[in-house]
Symmetry: C2
Subunit: 460 residues, 2 copies
């Protein structure tokens, strides 16, 4: 009477699901077969920029659990095996052994899709040249490091100014490269409003990173051996010995699409609260291949992030194992380190709020990480959006130094609980001179937002 | 038609109230008279240990706003003037000029009591000896520093192991004293459960601080000139050239008591949500002289803390100025630095929960401040209490190093919003390798608490 679950993709979501299911059901009750086309399992993709930058010894340190460890827990893990077709009606998947090329069908009672995301590679001349790298997988990271260590010239171009682009630009500067970052927008980190992004740009420029804004990649130039020599944009060309693509990722859902599974506007799989693919009681999906519900805007979004993938896996594993858990959604929290800055955001940017019909006031304040008189205190900028009339918190963006980043969690919990800015002013947050001014910077922003909401309401 | 408000006490609560009232009403509408018996206004008492320890240049750096600055805003601030009687029926206060000894009556339309707290000085032989110091006011801090700089011997005894005692022990070690800490309880920092307090004791012992637990002060020994030579406890005597009392404080409400105003079990003034003294529409009170509503236990407690005092002042000033604001209560958040540890707590300890009839499960976990592979990651211990059956969060205690302390804010907001541990597991908190493991330590504790609540419910 044993059931079989097939897991497609053996990174965070897939293997967290497998592990949780195994915790709930032993091998006599549940057979677990997992397919992974790459060389690695359960790794921290978020750690790749730090590996490249030399802060972390990779790739082993980035692997949370090895294939052998998974197998020791009675998970039939098939590495370098790519699932190439899902037969939903027949409840089976077709896989290809990437070493031998052999293909075979494997039947399932339950299916878990954790196929992750694929870096966006615009279809441009030269984009597949030697020396052009994505940084999505450990395999990608290794390939990039191999290139860097092969002593190419010292000129690096990073295309894209999101988290990965910014982190990679810093990693490459740390390795002694001259770095140019090509950014489609005016300011880096479009997950922030531009008036906060400008703070990031200035910090990066202060580190010697050249930033080209409002520029679109049009081609990669190569030499006669097919190696990259420059990147071309709408305006100019930039010499390059190595190119890192950090343009973003899209859900890796070609398989799911071919199988007729429901996809959202971003191409991510659509699931219910228990992370089951909509309309399919025995198929779950999680991690970077799904869309998640944004609790603030009420819309579905694609937010590839390891922390969500791990939660999804946990919930999927509970469901597969016959237990019960749900994923309520996200508020859009993200934090990162850029040069000496800590950068964090949660909730909606101005454009997000407008896009869903929310009207709002915004305030921006300057405060400090510790009491003003305490040694080591550093400046912190907090931007806050609050809904008109109701004063409900809609979003927070923070740029500062030590102690700035994780302050975003105050706002993340407040968004989840749908607190108003008045309620945030009243919060009983940790205060002592080495940790915070007597009003936490988030509350300084909330106080100003309270005034702004009132002024707006009274037309004053 | 001008009204007069009299403010008694010109520290955080009193002067925040005066400033906010002045913002709302100009001097033509509202006369503000503030009495202060000390030499300083609006200062950070929390900064005194850092001043004593040499981290902060005091006392000027600790003063947020000077008497002159307040006067420039049309506040009639009378320094070194002590209010010695409140005539509630006559709506007037009697004050004494501490320089001249002259007394006079001042009438009021509105009264703000911000008399603060008084260090507890047990009535023991020798307690008033030279070299025995409290550290409640800047005047106290200056007196202690004068003693330390007068080159007494190098043996210091700190009586009490709460925040102030622990911070003072560290400050004195940093000044090169041999430090003995006399603690009534078994472990320092009784604001934590003893199983967490032990971590503090070990860190302090590691710094060379001698800790005497389960010891009650019985006397202070003096020489023929009346200078301290030792402290005696129930068990033993400890030689001392300087003694710091950090036994705690009690609300400074002798005046209020004599005037017949309502006091709670701790001796703190009882107020309504608008911080008006109960039963008195034209008397407000805030800061260290009042009791506050603990939102988790539903009881009133005395929690002297600058962050509450500032909020109270803000709310009182709004009320006095004819605007509207309320103080909903606290959840009991506190954070401090002890040696190289960051220590934080919010909500209820085990004994607090039991005292109000709450039944609960507790879990304690070990996690890390950053991704396990990230440089600079440090261990962190999180203890969590959740209510039986409902799983509602009741309290969190954290001991760790960098990045541990302010994580308590996650729990502080969750307590305010009455989240369950299941809801905490699902929170969208900031994640990136330099800031957190993929599951934040608070969520690691919440996951274990979810399991404990379920196990308890099923008797498993």
């Amino acid at each position: 009477m044993s059931e079989r679950v097939v897991v497609v993709g053996a990174d965070a979501a897939g293997m967290a699901a497998a592990s949780q299911a195994r915790r709930l059901k032993g091998p006599g009750e549940l057979e677990i077969v997992a397919f992974e086309r790459g060389h690695f399992t359960s790794y921290s993709a978020c750690g790749i920029p730090y590996w490249v930058g030399g802060d972390v010894a990779g790739p082993d340190a980035l692997i949370a659990r090895t294939a052998a460890e998974h197998r020791a827990r009675d998970i039939d893990l098939r590495m370098r095996n790519e699932v190439v077709e899902i037969d939903v009606a027949g409840q089976r998947v077709r896989s290809r052994d990437l070493e031998s090329g052999n293909e075979s069908w494997t039947g399932y009672d339950k299916l878990v899709l954790a196929t992750g995301a694929t870096p966006i590679r615009p279809d441009l001349p030269g984009i597949d040249a030697d020396g052009v790298h994505g940084v999505q997988t450990l395999d990608d990271g290794q390939a990039l490091i191999d290139t860097l260590e092969s002593n190419p010239g010292r000129r690096a171009v990073v295309v894209g100014a999101g988290y990965i682009g910014v982190e990679m630009a810093e990693a490459l500067i740390n390795r002694g490269f001259q770095v140019t970052m090509i950014n489609r927008g005016a300011e880096p980190m479009s997950t922030l409003d531009p008036d906060m992004g400008v703070l990031i740009r200035k910090a990066m420029q202060g580190m010697g990173i050249q930033i080209v804004g409002n520029a679109e990649l049009t081609a990669v130039r190569t030499d006669e051996r097919g190696r990259v020599t420059a990147v071309a944009t709408t305006d100019a060309e930039y010499p390059a010995d190595v190119v890192v693509l950090g343009i973003g990722v899209r859900p890796a859902t070609d398989l799911a699409r071919a199988a007729g599974l429901p996809l959202g506007a971003s191409g991510g799989l659509l699931t219910d609260l228990a992370m089951r693919v909509r309309g399919h009681e025995n198929i779950w999906a999680g991690g970077d291949c799904v869309e998640v519900l944004d609790l603030v805007s009420g819309t579905e979004r694609h937010i590839p992030l390891g922390t969500h993938a791990n939660k999804h896996g946990q919930i999927i594993g509970s469901g597969v194992g016959g237990d019960y858990a749900t994923f309520p959604g996200v508020v859009g929290t993200a934090v990162s380190k850029v040069c000496d800055l800590e950068v964090a955001r949660t909730g909606l940017r101005e454009r997000d709020a407008r896009a869903v019909g929310l009207q709002f006031v915004t305030v921006t304040i300057e405060s400090t990480s510790r009491s003003g008189y305490f040694p080591g205190t550093t400046p912190m900028t907090v931007k806050m959006l609050a809904e008109r009339r109701t004063g409900r918190l809609l979003g927070v963006q923070i740029v500062g130094r030590e102690g700035a980043g994780k302050r975003i969690d105050i706002a993340a919990v407040a968004l989840t609980a749908r607190l108003t800015v008045d309620q945030i002013v009243a919060l009983d947050l940790g205060y002592a001179p080495p940790f915070s001014p007597v009003w936490d910077p988030v509350q300084v922003a909330a106080r100003k937002a309270v005034t702004a909401v009132r002024r707006d309401a009274t037309g004053g």
